[in-house]
Symmetry: C2
Subunit: 119 residues, 2 copies
């Protein structure tokens, strides 16, 4: 059937979480939020576009930094309330200049840093 | 520093999204929610424990189905408002009996099913 973004399940703010995964390495890069229009734009432009909760505006990932996410595949979960965007990531995904936002881990009760900023 | 779950950033309901990723294949399996006590239990028991929003109760993944998630690594994102749990998944992660909850994709404007239930 033809896909309609309004068939997804959004929260009270009209948002759905979107997990970005690197198409080549499988690494989970970040999680951010989309509204229905972000989903539509991401699909039509093939450039991942979130909704920035802090700015209250569309957020074309990498528009200012150049660290864009080209959409490879958009997946929907069983409850239709979470998205997985499989992407080709240019440069770091994280605003700290690390490849992934998930650069801290809890190991043996201690918080440790797993990766350094890209140079 | 010693890790304290109260240092994470929870939403107004006291919850944080947790993405589960297969430790071996890198496949993203599901996304669910945790509260601070779920995080603490997951770390101490090494068995992933979410908070069920529908039941309003702790949800030890696989407790009834046997499809448990053994914790391999718990990671925290840059904003401390999202978790990545790297797991060893027994059987399907999805309640539809599929390996991953993300079994639908949007391709050329159509919604398609990528994987069948496990037998």
């Amino acid at each position: 059937m033809s896909f309609d973004p309004s068939t997804l399940v959004y929260d009270a703010r009209g948002l759905i979480p979107a997990i970005a995964q690197d198409a080549d390495s499988g690494e989970v890069l970040m999680m951010a939020w989309m509204n229905a229009e972000s989903v539509a734009r991401t699909l039509s432009e093939r450039r991942v576009t979130y909704w920035s909760r802090s700015r209250g505006a569309f957020w074309v990932k990498g528009e200012t930094s150049g660290h864009v996410q080209e959409l490879v595949d958009l997946r929907i979960d069983c409850d239709r309330d979470c998205l997985l965007v499989v992407v080709r990531q240019t440069g770091p995904a994280c605003h700290t200049n690390r490849r992934s936002c998930f650069y801290s881990a809890v190991r043996e009760g201690e918080e440790v840093e797993l990766m350094a900023p890209m140079t």
